[in-house]
């Protein structure tokens, strides 16, 4: 028989429910309604017209931007995870508890600075006459065209995601049962093989969640594609601004935003399912 929730339980769960309703469910419902409105003379007219869905889904540019954004976010999640793992591994298994605390502190520091400022500062490094090309020039190399490229966009995504992914991976690896690793070593399992066959499977949930966060942050990011990628190629976030800039087409922008939300939900559910696959309940 199900018990009625206690007052104590409600006290702690109701604020979360209220928060979700106020800042997720209601805006989402409004966004869905907005996608069926129309725009006349720069003014939005409430109604129920599927024209925005039909128009956006029929435009090749929408699917092109969708494919680009999906590919870039996937690449960002994979590259960030691959670069973060050695760092998280070293902090989790090679540093003393005091060293770990310092490492965590150092990884939190980037969040003290505005992401926009960090991205702008990358322009100084990546431009044709920037710091990287000047240094390479002294070695007789370059100049290489780095800014306003997909590479630069990925650098921006890394700037956004890497500290967070390292932290999430670290919290996953740090709690791995060390006896499993000792057992692997006792069974003559090499260091690298131990990482791939013991450490990564044991920390799978945290590693997948970290990659998922990198995907989510990169998928919706507007700053890096614009200020480091030069707005080329067009991503969904750029397409949203393009759509709202001309003719106040917020309803069409709502269609793009809802498609992004749906994509992120599917990816998140798939990732979590994969992360917990085969684990005991």
């Amino acid at each position: 028989m199900r018990r009625m929730p206690s007052l104590y339980g409600l006290t702690f769960s109701l604020p979360l429910l209220a928060w979700q309703l106020l800042f997720f469910v209601f805006p989402l419902v409004f966004l869905v309604a907005l996608s069926f409105w129309t725009v006349k003379n720069f003014t939005m007219q409430p109604g129920f017209d599927p024209v925005n869905w039909v128009t956006m889904f029929a435009r090749p540019v929408f699917w092109q931007a969708y494919g680009t954004t999906l590919a870039l976010a996937t690449m960002a999640a994979l590259v960030t995870s691959a670069l973060a793992l050695p760092c998280a591994y070293a902090v989790a298994f090679k540093l003393s508890p005091k060293g770990q605390r310092w490492a965590i502190f150092l990884m939190v520091i980037p969040f003290f600075t505005s992401y926009l400022v960090r991205v702008y500062s990358w322009q100084i490094f990546l431009s044709d006459a920037g710091i990287i090309n000047v240094l390479l020039g002294r070695l007789g190399l370059g100049p290489f065209h780095l800014l306003n490229t997909v590479f630069a966009t990925l650098v921006g995504y890394l700037t956004l995601c890497l500290p967070l992914v390292v932290l999430l991976q670290l919290f996953s690896l740090i709690f791995i049962d060390r006896t499993l690793i000792e057992a692997a070593h006792n069974l003559r399992c090499g260091r690298l093989r131990t990482v791939f066959e013991v450490v990564i499977p044991a920390g799978r949930v945290g590693l997948v969640i970290a990659a998922l966060f990198a995907f989510i942050l990169s998928f919706g990011d507007f700053v890096s594609p614009i200020y480091l990628g030069g707005g080329d190629p067009t991503t969904l976030s750029i397409l949203i601004t393009d759509t709202t800039k001309s003719g106040q087409q917020w309803p069409r922008a709502a269609v793009i935003a809802l498609t992004m939300i749906a994509t992120l939900m599917v990816v998140a559910f798939a990732a979590i399912r994969f992360a917990y696959k085969g684990r005991a309940k």
Partner: protein
Amino acid sequence: MTRTPALPQGLPRRAFLATGAALLATPMLSRRAFAAPTELTMLAWYGHAEPDVVAEFEAENNVKFVPKYYTGGDNMLGLISQSPPGTFDVILSDAEYVQALNQAGYVEEMDPADYALSDYFPEFQNFPGNWQDGKLFSLVTRFGFLGVAYNTDALTEAEASTYNVYWDPKLTGKVGHFDWHLPNLGQLSLLTGNKAPYDIDEAAFAALQDKTRSLRSQIGGFFDYGGTFSSLNDGQMLAFCGIGDWITGVLEKNGAKVRSVIPQEGGLQWSECFSIGKGSTKADLAKKWVQYITSAKGQAKSAQMAAYPAIVPNQKGWEALQAENPAEAKRQGMTKEAGNAMDMIRAGRIQNRQWPLQQDLGAWNDFWSDYKAS
């Protein structure tokens, strides 16, 4: 018993009362100076309510501007349509959006007699869009030209004097677009031979699209206001389509090696107009501001606005600028010398930037999105 006199010796009671009253009244007399300033809301592009432009007017009229800056005409219309009437006392609008403001009833009618219209160059006294059915709804306050913006180390003025320079192989990946379809497509429309770049039929629009697509491989990026500044300033982009002196002028004044030139195919003109918001409760003060900024003194300030410089339509404003800052007057072509800004307009080398006349605005925007993604 001796009584101590209540008043100092030699100060009669009447004089004491008068002095006391005067002392008590002093705060009242100076009350005007210490009163909280009246807030005047301004909807405008960035820079128009900054101290270099408004400080003098604010001090003289005990006013404090509360700006709401927008990032484009569509954004401006959206902000007005989503705000209750009277939210904005003063509205600055690009000329192509003025008609939309009038039609939607967002601005008050203005009395031409209130403004120094007779000081304006004749071409600007009946400026398109400012008037509707013989009634004045906005007043053009500044304008500028859009041409080829270029890096002076990479290109000579002669090389940059045609839009064809964008296709120069040495500029591959080094041509930037200001990310707005109207100025870019307007310029390329001039290149494809359309004398009226925005009044083109479907065949001409198709030809314009083909020409524009052929430029795609040369393009290094699509930039907003900040991105345009930084990419020109650090030499990342060597030529730019869709802008003019309003950006290169600021950079040039700060030492960057960039400049704009009106090419042989002609240039475009952007214009900004001031209106008084419908339902403003401070319409008199708003009128006073428009009078100030369109006067000779205000026009000289507007021409030198720190955010982005502009040419002004008031002849006496030119004279004030020549007296105040002759170098800037010369740089922007606001002198009596032949080939000045007005001569360029009169020679037919400049066309107004406007909405497309034969296509829907959305068609131009959709093509621009497709072009960017191609």
